[in-house]
Symmetry: C2
Subunit: 332 residues, 2 copies
Amino acid sequence: MKKKTSLKDIASKVGVSTALVSYVLNGKMKGRISEEVANRIKLVAKELNYHPNQIARSLKTNKTNSIGLLLADISNPFSSQIARIIENEADKLGYAVIIGSSDESVEKSEKIIDVFLNRQVDGLILSLPEKSEHIVSDLKSKDIPFVLLDRYFPSVAANSVAIDNYSASESVVKHLQSNNYKNVGIISYDTELVHLNERLRGATEQNGINSSVGKVRLGHIQEDVESAIDMFLTSNPTMDAIFFTSNLLTISGLKFLNKKKVNIPCDMGVIAFDKTDAFDLFYTSISYVNQPLAKLGNEAVRLMHQAINDNTKREQIFLLAELIIRDSTSRK
Amino acid sequence: MKKKTSLKDIASKVGVSTALVSYVLNGKMKGRISEEVANRIKLVAKELNYHPNQIARSLKTNKTNSIGLLLADISNPFSSQIARIIENEADKLGYAVIIGSSDESVEKSEKIIDVFLNRQVDGLILSLPEKSEHIVSDLKSKDIPFVLLDRYFPSVAANSVAIDNYSASESVVKHLQSNNYKNVGIISYDTELVHLNERLRGATEQNGINSSVGKVRLGHIQEDVESAIDMFLTSNPTMDAIFFTSNLLTISGLKFLNKKKVNIPCDMGVIAFDKTDAFDLFYTSISYVNQPLAKLGNEAVRLMHQAINDNTKREQIFLLAELIIRDSTSRK
DNA sequence: TAGGAATGTTTAAACGATTAAGCACAGATG
DNA sequence: CATCTGTGCTTAATCGTTTAAACATTCCTA
């Protein structure tokens, strides 16, 4: 790789010091630099196609203008859509984004955060796996600016952006109720993650409707969804609706309901958390909870920026999700 | 943010020079350092929780161990799955990945590549939009290590990894032919992108089957897919299959075919390029061309690593895609 | 007309690492 | 005994910026 042009190159070509070049190109010391020299410097900078070496600048200023984004899995549509929004929002503020996927592993999360910090990112946006409270406390004790996204830990106060999962689930169940469903099966992860358990709590704590719960282990989604639905169908013949608390669960569930020839919504109502393309193409369009992704990403970046500039403030933001009602919960 | 511990901190605590600390921690000058001092240094490094400042290291070594990954749109499943694989493969070689989405815009691509280069990434993996050959020549003239991914430009020789789109389309049409389809509508982008036009060419250049083509503008996918299908259905009543040359086109098309009550595969066979979850949930499982994503990502990173270490070699890799045959092309 | 202010520019240290070269002392070798 | 070799460590330059402080001029102003 050819060497890029540096301040020194410009300085020697114009016949001034590197300091002056730096001042001119950064627009500092305005009013103390002769227009003529300033113009010559700018001209030569353009001629030599000068671009400042961000690495050197970072070393001096202790700011890299980059952030680390840790997601559960960038190949999951929920993550990748958020990533896209964060990338855009971060760019607006001049931050580049380094991405890592935790795969729901605490060790991998720690490793990736280490990589981020060694690269001196200015701040972190994190979707952490369960049992990683210690990571949060650790970052707090080191006074590193970060924001939790989507997942949060009530036991450790921190900047966070998430949706109000409880009320989202509450509105799901109320909707089912008002459409005359009486007996809902809830398919949820077997996890300690609070945001997921809030979905469960919001759904089960409502009166006037019966609920059964099927728990799914992370590594065994298809398998456990199937046995949960089987359990629902056999031991609970009056069940008339299923609420899937994530997009992956829904996809697995719909596949299985298809296989079992369960008709939606005639035999069974279905409602999901999160959206996927598949919901539009299913023979019955699927009702779902729509997370405000743009707002989530926007707020996450805003909070992170705020934390970078003043890490004493703390904000916990809960956004409202929207219920998209379609055919899969419309009882005939 | 608290200041991190530096070589200097360790050096002064142990009572040696920073050079020695650096040598010990990097395992250099083996055999010329007393075990006792080495151990003391390592111990103190651990005590102070030392992590090298990659920024400083990068400035000196001129290696950042990071790569820039430019995708069309990280929120598209094809992109995000590739991103995930590249992230993993890059990590194995010690590279961190900075991601950007071009949105098929040349200006945005240039801007993002600029950001990457200012951050002194060691290499680039790029999925460029149409009309961006000049970017490729420019990078070549600057001798910057890069690899084109998915999209390539025959007019400019460069490292590239893509699938053999022509033969993939060829096998699609041959499959349709052997299942007794006679008249296929091909829905493709109105673009100059070679890899997409190869899909078209591979499909239209086969004998023994009639083909009509509908072109879709990038910003008007749903709209143009609909008018193309309308055109097929009205002006070409014997049409018996549709080949969608991308996942987004397929989703739009299937939605519209649903709306039009066209039954698949009775009224119309359907086959797609790329996979999405939706294909499993559609009332008829959809046949598709499966791109070897893992291999694509793996080869891209391998080539990039090679280019970083020796930018005189060039490789152009074309991988074979696999045809996944399911119900949507099985004529009764 | 001396002294301060304003203007235009340079000097030099610093950020935190890497690394070639040098220094000092030990023991080995002829 | 002089010299060489090996061992263990330090010195100091360097990467490309930023920025406080200093230095020269020229220009006012009392």
